[in-house]
Symmetry: C2
Subunit: 239 residues, 2 copies
DNA sequence: TAAATAGTGTCTTTAAGACATTATCGC
DNA sequence: GCGATAATGTCTTAAAGACACTATTTA
């Protein structure tokens, strides 16, 4: 066992031995939600699969580090990235006090095939034991993704720029793990106010051609779907 | 201007100069949502109001540090605390690279009066300029609180153990900044599945006595309120 | 024209919005 | 009894659930 890493700053305060960015990147593959993992080269946990994280340096913002580490280790760039949370238990890393800031990343299914690297996609519902506390991190990521799916345009990160309703439905089903009734799915999507018909259609396939939709805004946004909390009072003026 | 703090660990990686825990503690006071602030004693930003944060040490978990700093600086202990997010931009602190892990804390209105310290409560909708990026942190905290109010039992942290519907309504109104229609408010609360009637009532006041309610579970939980996403398909067996 | 797929319509059920009404206290 | 406050009831409106039906393509 090595001596734990330590760091002390110029003012004598205890400082973490390092700070890592930890991208948790999801993509729907073959109808199931997958997460991107790499095999660890070094101790601790050498040989185990882990999230493709890496140390931050103090000259870029954390989300930039997350993107960079992701691209360095996997050749993939995420379409969407948001902060998940920070895992800071001093005991989580045997090397010493090394908190990790986790980021939820999403990749368009189309981008997916191109990458050839040491990274591999694993279905989230059947993971081998992972390094550190990465299984808990992935679980938190899945929760966040599922929780936002119908209330935000987070699916921007999972769908191509233009997509059909059945295509979106299959992606949503991969994420949530349930099957949606097609006509109600369509109604739910349209009512969210987040997507609109582009006017063009997809042909050259058996069956009725499908209309192509796109997101009204690709920047993070919440659904306009009525939030369904109790009515606010119409303030009546005293007469 | 001082020399920026630096830290380097034993393996030569760059390390943050320190890591701070940043409690963002809310309470409803006089019908408005307030946040707990302290006046900074030291540079930078000496004399300005700020969140009661402080440096973490590597021998406790971050949420413990947040609670401890809160109590040390304000004499108050939060009923509820959850991680908000980490602010890690290297430029956010003039002293150097010092990320902060922010925590959302909530305090039962009853606990509130007891504290006498340098800390003061400020209404969140009328804040003076604050130290660092603390105004943005508070804004994120308000968003989180409002976002979870009707979908979780987060109000556990804002209400006494037993409470009446009108009492809950006034707290919810302080948080959300809107007025609710009393009977629909009641229906919404009951339908959430998070609270139940205790059977006892409050008397000794003019007016019809109010029933006392309590949370079914005081640990973090989500409402059972139907989530209102499109119907899942009942998988029909092929015959 | 058949198989395959996408899209529309609609009846039922559930929940929310907007009140009017009734109940129970202290004085 | 009266003012104050809490609780119930109910009619209307909106959205979701379930499913039958129609439309448009390729082979």
């Amino acid at each position: 066992m090595h001596e734990p890493l330590r760091a002390v700053n110029g003012a004598g305060f205890a400082a973490p031995a390092g700070l890592t960015a930890l991208p948790v990147v999801f993509a729907p593959v073959a109808g199931r939600l997958h997460v991107l993992l790499v095999r660890r080269e070094e101790e601790p946990h050498a040989g185990m699969w882990s999230l493709p994280g890496g140390f931050m340096s103090g000259d870029e913002r954390p989300e930039e580090t997350a993107q960079r580490k992701l691209t360095e280790k996997t050749g993939v760039g995420a379409v969407y990235m948001e902060q998940l949370q920070t895992y800071g238990d001093p005991k989580r890393d045997p090397r010493g006090w090394i908190p990790s800031v986790a980021y939820l990343g999403l990749i368009d299914a189309a981008v997916l095939r191109e990458q050839e690297s040491a990274a591999r996609w694993f279905p989230v519902d059947a993971l081998a034991p992972l390094a550190f506390d990465h299984d808990a991190v992935i679980s938190d990521g899945v929760d966040r993704l599922r929780g936002k799916l119908w209330w935000s345009n987070i699916a921007v990160g999972l769908l191509p720029e233009k997509f059909t309703m059945p295509q979106a439905r299959r992606v949503f089903e991969a994420i949530s793990g349930v099957a949606y009734e097609p006509s109600n799915f369509r109604r739910g999507m349209e009512q969210s106010g987040l997507v609109h018909d582009t006017g063009s259609i997809v042909k050259n396939r058996p069956g009725r051609p499908a209309a192509l939709y796109e997101f009204v805004d690709r920047r993070p946004a919440w659904s306009t779907r009525r939030s369904r909390v109790p009515a606010t009072v119409r303030l009546r003026q005293p007469r």
